[in-house]
């Protein structure tokens, strides 16, 4: 076990290296550097007054006067100590900004993933038990429709109908807390938060329902064909016990591990949904950073979310090995 974990941890290094390298070069080789951007935005300086001197000074300020591989090396050395530099837009430490926003995005996604699991596992089990029946087909069809609806479209529709458009004004469509909510007592604040994130969470959740419940259905169907279930039925166990005690336990294993592949998509999905609902999370931060070419923030988000994903994959692999003794540490690739 220990050697397996060490091996996996060592494999993280080249992957992380690749992630930083790709982000760095994508961003750095792009036309339109932050110097010219900064100077344009700068406090009302007219174009003619920007002399070569100022350009050079600004470049030096941001360390952009050095060759690219030196800059990459400096950056890697910095992030090894979790120093992602300062944001170009407001000069705050990038890591501080991310610390502020990450909990919001994580909260959204954890709630969403929790909902996905609690809804889709029963749905998947139900349609596996009723395989081929009317209920199964209705569920399949309904989930398929959900699967193909673009989340940003649903967001617009939900805002239109429930967010004070022409129809009901049930949910807020902006931010995560009402103005002045900082002073609310805890339970009221929590309710306010849940009220604000209802619509975004719906948008983040419904698409994965189809995927996961189909997956659950497939994995349960596979287990249902196994010999030990025939034995369980043959010895006279009630069907509910056969399904829930014998079959489901085995069928849950692949479902648990798939959580790792949901994570990276979650950050990407958050970009759109957080921007639409103005939620101050990582997705919105990333979107704003892209708009203002805030290199340090972009690179920090890419690196940190890739790292979280890698950690997720690692944990789910380890859990897989732990819960299923049929899988050996060495045999798995």
């Amino acid at each position: 076990m220990r050697t397996y974990i060490i091996k996996r941890l060592l494999l993280l290094i080249p992957t992380l290296f690749g992630i930083t390298l790709i982000t760095f070069f994508v961003v750095q080789l792009a036309p339109g550097n932050p110097v010219s951007r900064k100077l344009q935005v700068g406090e009302g300086i007219k174009a003619e007054t920007i002399t070569q001197d100022i350009v050079e000074q600004t470049k030096k300020l941001y360390g952009l006067d050095k060759p690219i591989y030196v800059r990459y090396w400096i950056w890697v050395k910095q992030i090894a100590t979790l120093n992602f530099g300062r944001s170009y837009t407001d000069h705050r430490l990038v890591i501080q900004k991310i610390e502020e926003k990450l909990p919001i995005t994580l909260a959204l996604n954890i709630i969403s993933i929790f909902l996905v699991y609690t809804i889709s596992i029963p749905l998947g089990v139900y349609s596996a038990v009723k395989q081929g029946g009317v209920q199964d087909r209705v569920i399949t069809f309904f989930l398929f429709v959900l699967y193909s609806i673009p989340s940003f479209w649903l967001a617009v529709v939900l805002i239109y109908f429930l967010g004070g458009g022409e129809f009901w004004d049930v949910f807020p469509i902006y931010g995560i807390l009402s103005p002045g909510a900082e002073n609310f007592p805890f339970y009221k604040k929590a309710l306010d938060f849940l009220w604000h994130i209802t619509l975004p969470v719906i948008c983040l959740t419904y698409g994965d329902l189809a995927y996961l419940s189909r997956y659950q259905r497939g994995s349960l169907l596979e287990v249902l064909n196994e010999d030990f279930l025939r034995t369980a039925r043959a010895k006279g166990l009630p069907e509910s016990k056969v399904i829930f005690k014998h079959a489901l336990r085995n069928a849950l294993i692949p479902i648990v591990t798939i959580i790792a592949s949901i994570l990276p998509a979650a950050i990407g999905g958050s970009v759109i949904i957080e921007s639409i609902f103005s939620i101050p999370g990582i997705g919105k931060l990333g979107f704003d950073a892209v708009l203002s070419r805030d290199y340090p923030v972009i690179m920090a988000i890419a690196t940190i979310s890739a790292f979280l994903t890698l950690a997720g994959i690692l944990i789910s692999d380890l859990v897989y090995v732990l819960v299923d003794p049929r899988i050996s540490f060495e045999g798995r690739k």
Partner: protein
């Protein structure tokens, strides 16, 4: 006795006429009526994409003026470079005639007097914030969406199949390095990466195709790699190598055809994904540059005028939904057809 002979002959006949692989797949596919209907929808979308100028545009299909016949949609005429055909149609002489496409607005032609007007007889799907005809923009957007979907997926297949083939064929250190590369791509928040690249390059249709293609090849690569790792151990591959075939020939002729069907299934789902990504990008303002029409762009206007412009929400949403569903259904039917055992196992 006679019966037996007849049986034998029939069996032989059946053998000679044995269907090929793709014919069998098609037979299986046809059984799934939903998938077949979805294929019909895709063909219809293709038709719209190819003939969009004939369905919606401000230039007449046929024009007879002063006894001469013109086809302004098909050809450019020197005499009509600055002509407003609407005026021409109002001042027609006797014996002349003009035939417009069913939707007689071009996707970029704006009319500031009828901004954001709801669906009516003149504008079936309403107009957008510059008074452009939404139906016309949607029809012309079909071509853009489909071509981005197909070309992006084409790029993804070429990259994914090459990398996967090399990794699976050579194995060892090569496989190790390429596999790390897969891992990097998988851990990236892809949509964020696409957004970043497009923000730095000037957004053009070609850049969108390339960026989506370059960031979405991992599915194909893993599939091809797995198939090649499996095939590598087969005797017929050993035989082909022993006979002196070059590596490239073995890979392309003897191994790749085995992986083709699952790759095409992945590609079908990939097109649905690419159409979705394109519309999301256009929705956020990083997609197809104006004034070119795109479904996502029409939808993005609705966000600004959400209080009343429901037609800007409904129609592009329905178009995106229909396209994505059609490709997903065909992908699903196709996947069941190449592997009937997994029928109904879902995505």
């Amino acid at each position: 006795m006679n019966v037996q002979v007849a049986d034998g002959a029939q069996a032989l006949e059946g053998y000679q006429k044995s269907r090929g692989y793709w014919a069998t797949v098609w037979m299986e596919f046809k059984k799934d009526r939903v998938a077949l209907a979805a294929l019909g929808v895709i063909l219809l979308l293709f038709f719209v994409a190819v003939f969009d100028d004939f369905i919606a545009g401000s230039k007449p299909l046929v024009l007879k003026l002063d006894g001469k016949i013109y086809f302004p949609v098909l050809f450019e005429y020197k005499e009509f470079i600055d002509t407003d055909f609407k005026e021409v149609s109002e001042n027609l002489k006797k014996g002349d005639f003009i035939l417009f496409p069913p939707v007689k607005y071009s996707p970029t032609e704006y009319d500031l007097l009828s901004v954001l007007s709801p669906p009516s007889k003149t504008h079936l799907f309403g107009t957008d914030d510059r008074g452009r005809d939404v139906l016309s923009r949607m029809i012309h957007g079909t071509r853009i969406s489909l071509s981005i979907g197909f070309i992006a997926v084409g790029i993804a297949i070429v990259i994914g199949a090459s990398l996967g083939a090399i990794a699976g064929y050579y194995g060892g250190a090569v496989d190790f390095i390429i596999s790390r590369f897969f891992e990097v791509m998988i851990t990236f928040p892809v949509f964020f990466l696409i957004l970043t690249i497009l923000a730095f390059r000037n957004p053009s249709i070609y850049n969108i195709m390339i960026v989506i293609g370059v960031t979405s090849w991992t599915g194909v690569a893993r599939l091809v790699r797995g198939e090649f790792l499996r095939l590598r151990k087969y005797d017929y591959i050993e035989a082909a190598i022993a006979l002196g075939s070059r590596d490239l020939r073995v890979m392309l002729r003897h191994m790749l055809p085995n992986a083709l069907a699952p790759v095409l299934v992945t590609a079908t789902f990939g097109i649905a994904g690419a159409v979705l990504v394109e519309s999301a990008l256009s929705f956020l303002g990083f997609g197809v540059p104006p004034p070119d029409p795109s479904w996502g762009e029409v939808l993005s206007q609705s966000e600004r005028y959400v209080d009343f412009a429901w037609w800007l929400v409904l129609f592009p949403g329905a178009a995106i939904f229909m396209t994505v569903t059609a490709f997903n259904l065909v992908g699903e039917g196709f996947r069941d057809a190449i592997d009937p055992k997994r029928k109904g196992r879902g995505f």
